[in-house]
């Protein structure tokens, strides 16, 4: 355990004390205590930046479950540190924001902050652990914390359903990922990520390469809300807005991106990896941005926008993976570079936009753009913030989003030169789809700003009278917006410090330690740069389409997208379907009728026993022994069988008892024949007593009702009955044959020999019962004792209803 381990675990430890703060210091908003932690962690982490910028890594070991290969290695490189800084930095801002967003009264703040801290710790663990299983452990914890936060207002049905949906989707991905990691372990013998990367060639040569990749990608895609797993994210907007800003735009949903980036050194270069990551990413970009435009809830717009932006980063990582084929030339690495740069930018502008929407919601009581409008004079600061955030998202100069959007275009254009992976014929799709999606991105960015702040002010539709937010709610988005501007003007601040080491972690073969990429971020590429014209095109078409929005919006109805995302139908169908299927399957077999249960069980027994009899061809009868059987023996056996068969057909109790009695007495007769007088005597006694008791009891009972049932039903029963009898007979006869071949003496030989010598008894059966196996007898006496005590208590004691549990 090092300080680093403790830093990662600190949020969990701190979370334990939150309920105490909440309970014993109710006058101070619990958030103020919480705020301390991410701030300290951020300071602690940022001091590592110089080391990391130099291309070094920091590692610390701790053995957790070494027998399963699970060790808590902290591994900090550029990629990990970048995420950790986002987690703690934005975490601190979100906590500050939440203090004003969630009032002291009526909110279960202790729950809220416990979940939030749990998430923070888990997320730090995901990005800083060097062991896949530890990563997995923290990964599932983020899913759990996320679900709890979505369900924070659990009295709302939508919150509960959203929580369940996010949990099912992300945990499903998590389970798949677990299998994928296990595959990697089986291939390489380790869960240590760096060791797996060192063995990437072994992995690539393995037949398990593709399954491992697919399963791990399933984990990444579900977490990062890639199509078609994105459906949980819009529903996750039921969480309080600080949570949406934090988990569902800035950090947790980027865990999938982190994983793809982290695993790139293992999988990059494979065509499947390229197509899945880049292809699904670019499609998600389009799907998200296209669907964002049709939303009327500001948070839903942002949710689809997040899906779309995540798709964009994902596709860039996919395109960047092609650089593995080209010796990691900067020309191809630029896509990866753009991915990391945009990841940072997205966290800043999307975080601030979520906070802006939170402010609007908080101050007006609604997020519906049909009710909002004309807030520009009432909330000028919020308006300014929204302009910065939305324009950056739309890719407008001079904000950071412009730079990364242009770089995205560069990456798309460079992908045209990729000749691997059958790209020749399809490569053009990437720039085309990317450009179209950017147009929609522009449109919804404008919707967020102008539908809210300009147009007609409609106070009659609002629950509250809106005014500017308190300063505490404004500070966090102001900081983020300031970063948007600063990074827009001075992207060089990020280049060597954090982006280079992060990209280096994704393409470790590309650089030696301390070197830098030849990639630079700059706004002006010259008049002949196609990126410039793509951006101008986006703005021009975007403005036209925004202004004519009402004219072409019908297209969503035409495509049946206006009610809900069509993927949701699949989810609903599956969820309902599984319950319906479960009910059907269960009601078919759990009929509540004993006869059905016995029938099912006997069918199974007959089938499986006869199958093994046939499979091993064991059925054999030794006819050699038959000759010695005396005639009277056959008669007794016949009567025995006849009496047994009669029992179920008798409809009078007394007669049935007598038939059963006959069976019992015949058993006694068998004992006599086999020279076991003690047993015969016992059997006679037991039989007499039980028969008498039965007769006594039945004297007091009403007539046995005749049961009428369909003949067909009886036929199946008959078959089953015969089947059981036949099975037992066949196996018994075969056993006798096997007994004849037994190469050993039975232990009874020892008993016969020693019963007098060692136990001093002539009657071997008795000696076995009371001495050789006296323990059995002793326990059987106990059984009888328990049975009688049980009967006594059953007669004496009856509870009414079910008061006690």
């Amino acid at each position: 355990m090092s300080i680093l381990h403790i830093a990662i675990l600190a949020p969990f430890i701190f979370a334990i004390f939150i309920p105490l703060f909440y309970k014993y210091l109710p006058r101070i908003h619990t958030g103020w205590f919480v705020l301390v932690l991410p701030t300290l962690l951020f300071i602690y982490l940022i001091r590592m930046l110089p080391t990391i910028s130099k291309g070094e890594v920091i590692t610390k070991q701790f053995e957790w479950v070494p027998s399963l290969g699970i060790n808590f290695n902290v591994y900090i490189d550029g990629l990990g540190l970048l995420f950790a800084l986002l987690i703690t930095g934005i975490g601190a801002l979100v906590v500050l924001y939440s203090i004003y967003y969630l009032g002291k009264k009526g909110e279960a703040l202790h729950n809220f902050y416990v979940y939030l801290l749990m998430f923070m710790g888990a997320m730090l663990g995901v990005v800083l652990s060097g062991n896949l299983m530890v990563l997995y452990v923290f990964w599932e914890l983020t899913s759990l914390a996320s679900a709890l936060l979505i369900g924070y207002w659990y009295h709302r049905k939508k919150s509960r359903d959203g929580a369940l949906k996010s949990m099912l989707v992300t945990v499903m991905g998590g389970f798949a990922m677990l299998a994928g990691f296990s595959f990697l372990y089986v291939i390489t013998g380790t869960f240590n990520i760096q060791e797996i990367i060192a063995n990437a060639d072994v992995v690539a040569a393995s037949s398990l390469f593709i399954p491992a990749m697919l399963l791990i990608l399933l984990g990444a895609f579900t977490k990062s809300a890639q199509f078609p797993f994105h459906i949980w994210l819009p529903d996750a907007m039921e969480a309080p807005t600080p949570v949406s800003a934090y988990l569902h735009s800035a950090t947790m949903v980027k865990a999938g991106i982190y994983l793809v980036a982290r695993m790139s050194p293992v999988f990059a270069g494979a065509a499947e990896w390229f197509w899945l990551v880049a292809g699904l990413g670019i499609f998600t970009l389009l799907w998200g941005s296209f669907n964002a435009v049709r939303q009327t809830d500001l948070k839903s717009i942002l949710a689809y926008s997040t899906i779309s932006q995540l798709g964009m980063i994902m596709s860039l990582l996919g395109l960047g993976s092609a650089s593995a084929y080209y010796g990691y030339e900067d020309y191809y690495v630029i896509a990866t570079y753009a991915a990391i740069f945009h990841l940072i930018n997205h966290s800043t502008f999307k975080g601030s936009l979520f906070m802006v929407v939170g402010i609007i919601d908080h101050e007006t009581g609604t997020r519906d753009i049909r009710k909002l409008g004309g807030l520009i004079t009432l909330m000028p600061i919020t308006f300014t913030l929204s302009i910065i955030g939305a324009f950056s998202m739309a890719g407008i100069y001079p904000f950071n989003g412009f730079l990364s959007k242009e770089m995205f275009f560069t990456g798309l254009l460079h992908s045209l030169d990729i000749t691997q992976f059958n790209m020749q014929s399809l490569a053009f799709l990437f720039p085309v789809i990317g450009w179209i999606a950017s147009v929609f991105t522009f449109i919804y960015s404008m919707i967020i700003v102008f539908k809210t702040f300009t147009g007609k002010y409609q106070p009659e539709k609002l629950d509250k009278k809106p005014h500017e937010a308190p300063i505490g709610m404004l500070v966090p988005p102001i900081i983020l917006a300031a970063l948007v501007v600063v990074f827009g003007f001075f992207p060089g601040l990020l280049e060597h410090t954090i982006i280079d080491p992060a990209v280096h972690a994704i393409h470790p073969a590309a650089l030696a330690a301390g070197e830098h990429f030849g990639i630079h971020i700059y706004p002006w590429h010259g008049w002949d740069a196609p990126e410039l014209w793509m951006t101008i095109g986006v703005i021009a078409l975007g403005v036209i389409m925004y202004l004519t929005l009402t004219k072409w919006q019908k297209i969503y109805e035409f495509l049946r997208l206006h009610k809900k995302d069509p993927i949701n139908y699949i989810y609903d169908y599956l969820l309902d379907g599984v319950i319906r299927f479960a009910k059907k399957v269960t009601s078919m077999q759990m009929t509540g009728l004993l006869r059905d249960y016995l029938a099912f069980m006997f069918i199974f027994v007959i089938a499986i026993v006869l199958y093994s009899v046939i499979r091993y061809d064991v059925f054999s009868i030794d006819t050699g022994n038959m000759e010695g059987i005396p005639f009277y023996f056959w008669i007794i056996a016949f009567v025995f069988a006849a009496a047994t068969i009669t029992v179920p057909f008798i409809q009078y109790r007394v007669a049935a008892i007598i038939a059963v009695g006959i069976v019992g007495y015949l058993v006694a007769l068998f004992f006599v024949i086999f020279r076991a007088p003690d047993l015969a005597l016992t059997q006679l006694l037991v039989e007499t007593v039980t028969t008498t008791l039965f007769l006594l009891c039945f004297y007091h009972l009403p007539e046995l009702r005749k049961e009428r049932s369909k003949p067909k039903f009886k036929l199946t029963n008959l078959i089953i009955a015969i089947g059981v009898g036949a099975t037992v007979t066949i196996t018994a006869l075969s056993t006798l044959v096997a007994r004849g071949h037994r190469p050993f003496e039975a232990i009874s030989e020892y008993h016969l020999e020693n019963s007098y010598k060692l136990a001093g008894g002539d009657n071997v059966v008795n000696v076995i019962l009371v001495d050789f196996r006296g323990f059995d007898t002793f326990l059987e006496i106990l059984v009888l004792g328990i049975a009688s005590l049980g009967l006594y208590s059953l007669i004496k004691f009856r509870v009414k209803g079910r008061d006690s549990i």
């Binding site: 452990v137 399957v585 196996t731 018994a732 056993t735 096997a738 549990i805």
Partner: protein, 500 residues
């Protein structure tokens, strides 16, 4: 020779008998029960420790000094003693929960006696090294369970326990048939001796059929598909503490018996027998969880979840690799603890809500946060969310399955993950319906404060699950040591037959 091996059988038996004499005095009964249960726990933990210490040696006791295989022998290897120790732990907490929950009437009707008789049977079944003696201990266990399941004698209990009894009788008859057959073929009943002789005769003909018969018998006890019909309703009748005890221990006896017989005796044709175990395990998981999803009553959901978990625990035997067996052993340990906790919380929830019908519950988290969060943690551990104990067992099975690498193993890994996801859905349904949601009109039957007493025995169990998860290294090493021991049957055989 180790006479102490008898303690886990003798202590509960004598306590059970002594309690009969104090049936009207609840306080004395409780005092004796707690002392007895503590003594049992200490003895069994000591034995588990001794079995671990002596490492490759196995503790044995030849009863009446009759040399194995001619008399009856008790055998305490690491697996058996571990399970006995766990039975001791669950026994103690069940007792504490019973004090809070079952009510005076039951206490005055010999409840505690039956409780201890049940433990006698369970412990004996774990410790015996003789096949017929196993049958007898099954009888002790079953007769006690019959009484406990019908204890109170409501109409529902009487109806459902009848089915339970009949089906278990059928199982007992098949057991006897199996014992008769195997005695005929091998001439012995001692398990170690059987293991040796089956090896000599060769497990290709009749012995395979006999193996299947025993598999059927133990699968009935363990509630495997398609032999579990007796369980879901019968377990819904008796008080929560009884169901918890049954859920934690009874099916484990079935699984333990499969463990014993299919890692010691019938190991020579695994292509056949262990494949069947794998298939049954997979189907049991699936049908169990489907049953759970079909229900709307907490108790019944959990009853079906007993079944689904049985499949997980049997998986390791079928896969038959050190890792998979260790994972199964770990899973059994986890399941014993978490099943008890789960059924206790369900019982407490029923007490609070006055019903076990989920449709009539809502918003309990607001009024009963302790109960709600205990349930949540227990449920998450049950589902296998890391770092709780449930995760490591599942993970071991997944990893073990992938290591084995046959098509069937891959399919079962997929089943494990899919069923785990459905387990999550089923647990979240309970949590969302009972604890989340708007507070409904019905007043809670007992307040948050009053419910604390009920929760007290649950907290240590949940804590144990957390400790077992966070500190899974020693636990897993223990499980791996057990796997090593049972994968080398000669250790067991030599220990038992060394006096020959």
């Amino acid at each position: 020779m180790n006479n102490l091996l008898l303690l886990p059988v003798v202590i509960p038996m004598f306590i059970g008998v002594i309690l009969i004499f104090f049936v009207k005095n609840i306080r004395v009964q409780r005092a004796i029960s707690v002392i007895g249960s503590l003594a049992l726990l200490i003895a069994s933990v000591y034995l588990a420790f001794a079995a671990y210490e002596s490492n490759s040696q196995v503790l044995t006791l030849e009863l009446g000094n009759w040399q194995a295989p001619f008399g009856i022998v008790l055998v305490g290897d690491m697996l058996a003693t571990l399970l006995v120790a766990l039975a001791g732990i669950v026994g103690l907490f069940s007792l504490l929960f019973a004090f809070q929950s079952i009510g005076e009437e039951r206490e005055k009707s010999y409840f505690y006696s039956f409780f201890f008789f049940l433990l006698t049977g369970v412990n004996g079944a774990f410790l015996t090294g003789d096949l017929f003696n196993l049958f007898v201990f099954f009888e002790v266990m079953l007769i006690s369970s019959y009484v406990l399941i019908v204890h109170g004698g409501t109409k529902f209990q009487l109806r459902e326990s009848f089915k339970y009894m009949v089906i278990n009788m059928v199982a007992s008859i098949f057991f006897l048939v199996g014992v008769a057959y195997i005695y005929a073929v091998t001439g012995t009943l001692n398990m170690a001796d059987l293991a040796e002789k089956v090896g000599v005769i060769g497990q290709d003909g009749m012995l395979n059929v006999i193996a299947i018969i025993f598999l059927i018998v133990f699968a009935m006890k363990g509630a495997f598909f398609p032999l579990y019909f007796w369980l879901p309703n019968a377990y819904a009748g008796p008080p929560a503490v009884v169901t918890a005890l049954f859920a934690a221990l009874l099916t484990k006896v079935g699984i333990y018996s499969i463990f014993r017989s299919f890692t010691l005796i019938f190991i020579h044709d695994r292509e056949f027998t262990h494949t069947i175990i794998l298939i049954l395990a997979g189907l049991t998981m699936i049908f169990g969880v489907l049953g759970a999803l079909s229900q709307f009553n907490i108790n019944r959901i959990l009853n079906f979840q007993i079944i689904s978990q049985v499949g997980f625990m049997a998986l390791g035997i079928g896969l038959y690799s050190p890792l998979a067996i260790a994972a199964s052993v770990y899973y059994i340990v986890h399941d014993i603890i978490i099943k008890a906790a789960l059924f206790f919380t369900a019982g407490a929830t029923e007490k609070v809500a006055g019903t076990s019908d989920l449709k009539k519950m809502s918003g309990l988290l607001k009024t009963h946060p302790w109960l709600g969060w205990l349930f949540f943690i227990t449920a998450m551990s049950f589902v296998g969310i890391p770092p709780l104990s449930g995760f490591f067992g599942k993970f071991g099975l997944v990893l073990g399955g992938i290591e084995v690498g046959t098509t069937l193993a891959y399919i079962l890994v997929a089943v494990v993950l899919l069923v785990s996801l459905l387990n999550l859905l089923s647990m979240m349904r309970i949590f969302m319906k009972a604890f989340w949601g708007e507070k409904n009109d019905t007043e809670p039957k007992i307040t948050n404060k009053q419910s604390i007493g009920l929760l007290r025995p649950i907290i240590p169990l949940v804590a144990l699950s957390i400790v077992l998860g966070l500190g899974s290294e020693p636990a897993f090493q223990y499980a791996l040591a057990i796997a090593d021991q049972i994968l080398d049957p000669s250790i067991y055989i030599d220990a038992v037959l060394s006096g020959k």
